[in-house]
Amino acid sequence: MKKLLCLISVVLISGCAHNIKITPETTAANTQAKSATVVGYYVSAADKAIKNTTPGGGGDKVSYQLTKDMEYGFFKALNDSYETVKVLEASHDAQKMKADGITLVFEPKFTSTSSGSSLLIWPADKFSITVQCKAYNQTGALVLDKAFTGQGTATNGEVLKDFSLAANRAATDVLAQVKKELASNASLK
């Protein structure tokens, strides 16, 4: 009976994708001075609905909504860098930009890879998250088109307690890079 139950479970679980939620660390106190420039950002509803599935350990997969999970961290990076951040409902919305006095609009695209070194457990212990960050000015000219990639790893012991830890670390890493760019790139002031 035990063997039968186990077999049923294995059939049900084989090749399945385990849901995780990526939570970048966003609690660090903001010490940088904010720019008075009014900025906006646009992330499409279609991108937020995408379910990403990438390899985990033991031949299984991990599943998550990368853009949805990363959106807040990206917003926070902007919110820490600019006094006013507005959410746009459409890409290249020149009318809205003009009406709201938005000087720059950011349009990030997120991609990821993962892997799990363990044969025995499913959580991924290595993660990579890339943000292809584009920014346009009011005339629609591209003022930034740059990719940032964050890496995150965790031990098997760590991922057994926190299934998303490697992903969280990669997310925190890439958002720190974005924030650094916002602080140092003169064309984004």
Binding site: V10, I13, T23, F75, V87, L120, W122
Partner: protein, 181 residues
């Protein structure tokens, strides 16, 4: 065979052990709503629980631990994060938001998982109570017979449940009136 070993090991490793709930992430929507709520800068006092058992959450026998030590602190940290990101947290403010967790249920059923949270929120102004109300939140999510799917799904749902509670608080007209400028 690899799958069989993987599954057996995972069950063994997870059985009766403790796992960490994801940390709280505000939503853009909730932070923007707080920013434009007309709220004065506020402080957040240490949260409490109505009874000690509310500080433990079990997902099919696995203890779901709060990344902030306990679940009253989870609510407290959620409020602080939302207010910090909205630029409205001021620990020296005369307006202080308090909370007492009164419900903290996670039901990892086979088909649909369900979560219910409730907390009594208070606002005091220079020590005088000017608002007190219980706010609730309910979330449902896709669950499964298989624990290795159902448990991560429930874990993932917890921050969303807390975000719903905070959003419902900042939708409450009496609460907004009590913290208005």
């Amino acid at each position: 065979m690899k799958k069989l070993i993987s599954f057996a090991m995972f069950v063994m490793l997870l059985s009766g052990c403790s796992i960490m709930a994801p940390g709280y992430t505000p939503s853009v929507k909730s932070v923007q709503a707080i920013k434009t709520s007309g709220s004065a800068p506020v402080a957040v006092s240490k949260a409490t629980v109505a009874k000690a058992s509310l500080n433990s959450v079990s997902l099919r026998g696995n203890s779901l631990k709060s990344p902030y030590g306990d679940y009253s602190s989870y609510i407290e940290q959620a409020l602080k994060k939302e207010l910090t990101d909205a630029g409205l947290l001021d620990e020296k403010s005369v307006l202080v938001i308090g909370s007492q967790l009164t419900k903290n249920d996670m039901d990892v059923a086979m088909g649909t998982g369900k979560g219910d949270l409730a907390a009594v929120f208070t606002v005091t102004k220079a020590g005088k109570k000017i608002f007190e109300k219980e706010i609730t939140a309910h979330e449902e999510w896709e669950s499964s017979f298989v624990g290795a799917i159902a448990i991560p799904n429930a874990m993932k749902a917890y921050p969303t449940l807390v975000n719903t509670l905070v959003t419902n608080l900042f939708k409450d007209k009496d609460f907004l009136k009590s913290i208005s400028k």
